[in-house]
C-alpha cells in the first residue's frame, strides 16, 4: 500500500495523476481527512464529481473502495448485516432431523443450537460491515446520504465517530483499520446536526471556467482548445439560466465527446441546437436554452471570436 500523502500538494498531485483535477479546497479537505481520520461530507449539485472524488482517492491511497448507494427505505438489513434466516432454518431442521433419526432426545440442547445459529457463519455482511471488517484499509463511500431517512442517519453515527458496529447477538465489532469515509449529498434535505458534527465539510460547486476547461481537455484531449474553451463558456452561460437541471461537468465532458464524434469545427447556433440534448435534459429547459442561448450564439459568434484574440 502506498504511504499516505504527507502534504496538501502531495495529495493534489496524486489526485491529478489519476485523472481527477481537484480544486484547492478539495485537496486540502482530502488531506485533512486522511490525517485526522474524520469522514468528509461532500455536498454540491449533481454531477460535479462528488462520487468521482471517492474513486480517485481510493486510487491515490491504493485502497479498495467500498460503496454503499443510499436510497429511500434503505435499512440496517441492507446496509449493515442480516441474519441468514433460510440457512438458520435449515440448520435447525437438520438438527431435528438428525435427532429424530437416532431416536434420541431431540438432538442437541436448545442453548447449543441458539449459540450456533447466531454465529458469524449465519451473518450476511452488507457494505458497511464489509468496510468495518476489512483486513486492508479501505475507502468507504456512502453515496447520496440525503436519500435515506433520519433513522438511518442516526444509525451511522456510531460507525462514523468510533468506526464500530454493535450487533446485539454478537457484541461489538470494531474496525481493524482506519477507513477514509466520504459521504455525498445532493443537499435535497438538511442532514442532522449530529451527523454534520462528525464530518469535515466540503462544498463542491461548478468549477471556474479555467478549471473546467482543464477538466474537459483532460477527458477529451483530441478536442481543439478553441472549441473546448467555447464549449465551457457556453455551458457557463447555460448554467446562468433558471433551469430545472443545469448541465454538470459530466455533461460538459459528454458534449465535448459528442462534438469530437461529429467533427465540429466551431460551436455555432446550428451545432448547438443539434447537440443541445446532450447537456440539457428537460423538455421545458430545452425550450428556454434554445431561445436564450441559441439566439445569442447566432448573433454573438463574431464578438466571441474577436474577444478570443
Amino acid at each position: 500500500m502506498a504511504a499516505a500523502p504527507d502534504s496538501v500538494a502531495a495529495i493534489a498531485d496524486g489526485l491529478r495523476s489519476v485523472g481527477y483535477l481537484p480544486g484547492k479546497s478539495t485537496a486540502l479537505v482530502s488531506f485533512l481527512a486522511t490525517q485526522l481520520g474524520k469522514p468528509i461530507l461532500v455536498e454540491g449539485p449533481a454531477g460535479v464529481g462528488k462520487t468521482e472524488l471517492a474513486k480517485a482517492l481510493a486510487k491515490v491511497l491504493d485502497r479498495r473502495l467500498v460503496r454503499l448507494q443510499c436510497y429511500e427505505g434503505l435499512d440496517e438489513a441492507k446496509a449493515l448485516y442480516e441474519w441468514n434466516y433460510r440457512k438458520q432454518l435449515l440448520r435447525i431442521q437438520a438438527d431435528t432431523g438428525a435427532g429424530a433419526g437416532t431416536g434420541g432426545e431431540g438432538g442437541r440442547g436448545w442453548s447449543e443450537v441458539q449459540d450456533d445459529i447466531f454465529g458469524e457463519e449465519f451473518l450476511l455482511s452488507r457494505p458497511l460491515m464489509d468496510a468495518i471488517t476489512s483486513e486492508q484499509p479501505i475507502v468507504l463511500l456512502i453515496d447520496e446520504i440525503d436519500k435515506t431517512d433520519q433513522e438511518f442517519e442516526a444509525m451511522l453515527l456510531e460507525l462514523l465517530s468510533d468506526f464500530q458496529i454493535s450487533i446485539p447477538e454478537l457484541g461489538r465489532i470494531e474496525a481493524r483499520t482506519h477507513p477514509v469515509v466520504l459521504l455525498t449529498s445532493n443537499n435535497s434535505r438538511e442532514l442532522t446536526e449530529a451527523l454534520k458534527r462528525r464530518c469535515l465539510y466540503l462544498w463542491l460547486d461548478y468549477p471556474e471556467l479555467e478549471h473546467e476547461l482543464q477538466i474537459v481537455r483532460l477527458h477529451a484531449p483530441e478536442l481543439q482548445e478553441t472549441i473546448a474553451r467555447r464549449l465551457v463558456e457556453v455551458v457557463g452561460m447555460v448554467r446562468e439560466l433558471d433551469l430545472k437541471k443545469p448541465p454538470s461537468i459530466a455533461e460538459s465532458i459528454d458534449w465535448a465527446r459528442a462534438l469530437l464524434l461529429l467533427g465540429a469545427q466551431d460551436i455555432d447556433g446550428e451545432i448547438f441546437r443539434e447537440t443541445l440534448s446532450v447537456i440539457v435534459k428537460h423538455r421545458t429547459d430545452l425550450d428556454v436554452v434554445a431561445e436564450r442561448v441559441g439566439v445569442k450564439l447566432d448573433s454573438a459568434a463574431g464578438i466571441v471570436a474577436r474577444a478570443r484574440i
Binding site: K24, E151, S188
Partner: protein, 466 residues
Amino acid sequence: MSPAPESKAPPPGIAARLVEFGAELRREGVASGTAELLDAFAVLEQISWTEPEDFRAALAATLAKSQEDRRIFELVFDRFFFRATEAAAIRENAREGGLGEGADSELGEIDLDVLRQQIADALRGGSEGAMRDLARLAIAAFGRQGEGSGVIGVDVQRIRRALGLRAEPQPELPAADPRHDGVPRDALRRFEALLRRELEHGQIQRTGQLPPSRPLNDIDRALPSGPLQDLEAVHRIVAQLKRRLKTQGHESRGHRHHAQVDVRRTMRASLQTGGVPVQLRYKPLRPRRPEIYVLCDVSTSVTSASVFFLSVLHALHDSFRKMRSFVFIERISEVTDVFDRERDFRAVSEAIGRDAGVADISGYTDYGRVWSEFRALVEDELHPRATVIVLGDARTNGRDPRADIFAQIAQRAGRTFWLNPEPRLYWNYGDSVIDAYAQHCQAFECWTTRQLEEFVKALARPAHES
C-alpha cells in the same frame, strides 16, 4: 489577513481569537459548537498557516457545514479578520503610506479616462492585486472631488457609476473598450467589495477607531421589500427554496405515527420468514397536492413580496394539482398565464405591472371590492379540497373590509391562509384590519424567506399531519 506565524504551534493569542471567531459565527446563526472548534484546532495543526487560502478553507471545512453557513462564514471571516488586523494596526499606531496627503499631488495627474480603462481591463483579467491597487486609485481620484457622502455604501455606488462599470453590454462604447461587452458580474462584485474594504480602511485610519460592529446586513434573510433589491439574490433564494421544497416529503417519511399497513408488501416480506409476518410494511405517505388559489396584493407597499411569493409558488407548481393566481389592488385580475409564459422574476414583475390593469382610480387597495369580484370569479369552483391563500398587509385605507364576504369564501374553501408581509408588531395598527380576517383563516407573518419556506412546507404536508 492570516495571523501568519512561522511556527506550527499556535501562539497564545490565536486560540482566544478562534474562540471569539466561533462566538461571532454563532451570533450570526451558524451552528458551530465546541466540537467544531476543537476540530478547527486539530485541523490547524495539520496545515501551514502562511497560506491565507488554506487557513480559510480549513476553518470553513470544520466550522461551516452547509451552503448557507458557508456563505455566512465567508462574510464573517472577512469582517472578523479585517477588524482584527485594523484593531492591531491602531494599537501599534501603524499607518500606511500611499494614501496620505503626500501622494495627493501625484494622483492629481491621473487621467480619469485612463483609469476607467485600466480598471475595466483589470476586472476582465481578474487579478486580485491589481484590482486592489486600482480601487485605491479610484477612491483617491474621486474622493478628492468632494463627492464623498460619508456613507460607505453610497460612495461605493457613486464610484462605480463614475467609472462607468456595468454588467450589461454598453454598445455605445467603441468596440475596443473593455466595457463594450459588459464587465463580468462577479468581478464587478469583487471590485465593489474591495472598494468598500478600502473605504472602511481609510475611515478607520482617519478616525483612529473601529466603527461599532454590526450584525450582518443580510438581505436574503428578509423577503425583498423594495424594487431596488438585487434581483440575483432573489433568484438565488427561489432556486434554493425550490430544491428544498421539491424533496421535503423525505422528512415526513420518518414519522410513522399514522401509517397504514401495506398488506401486499407485508405478505411478500413474510415469505422470507416462512409465512410469518415478522416485519410490517407500511404504505408510503404521499405529500398533499392541494388545489390552490392565490390572491396577491400588488399595491406599492407590498408588490415585491407578492410577486416574489407568486414566483415561488409557480416555480413549485409541480407540487400542486392545480393553481390559479390573482393579483389585486382595487380590482382583481388573473395572472396564471403570465407565469406560464415567463420564468424570469423581472419579466413577470414587468408583465404584471403592465398588463394586469388592477389599479382603477386611486391606486389604493380595496379589499371589499376584491372579495366580491373573487367570489364571482371562482364561486363555483371552490370546494372543501381547495386552498385559498391571500398575501397582503390587510390595510384597507379606511374602506370597508367586508369581512363577511371573506368569511363566505373561507367557508367554501377547505383551508384559507393569510400571509402578512408585515412583522406581527405592526398588525392592527393604523388601517390594518388583519384581525377581522384572521377570525376566518389562519394568519401567518411572512417577511423572511424562512417563514415563507415553513409556510410552503406546511402547505404540502401530507393531509393527516396538518
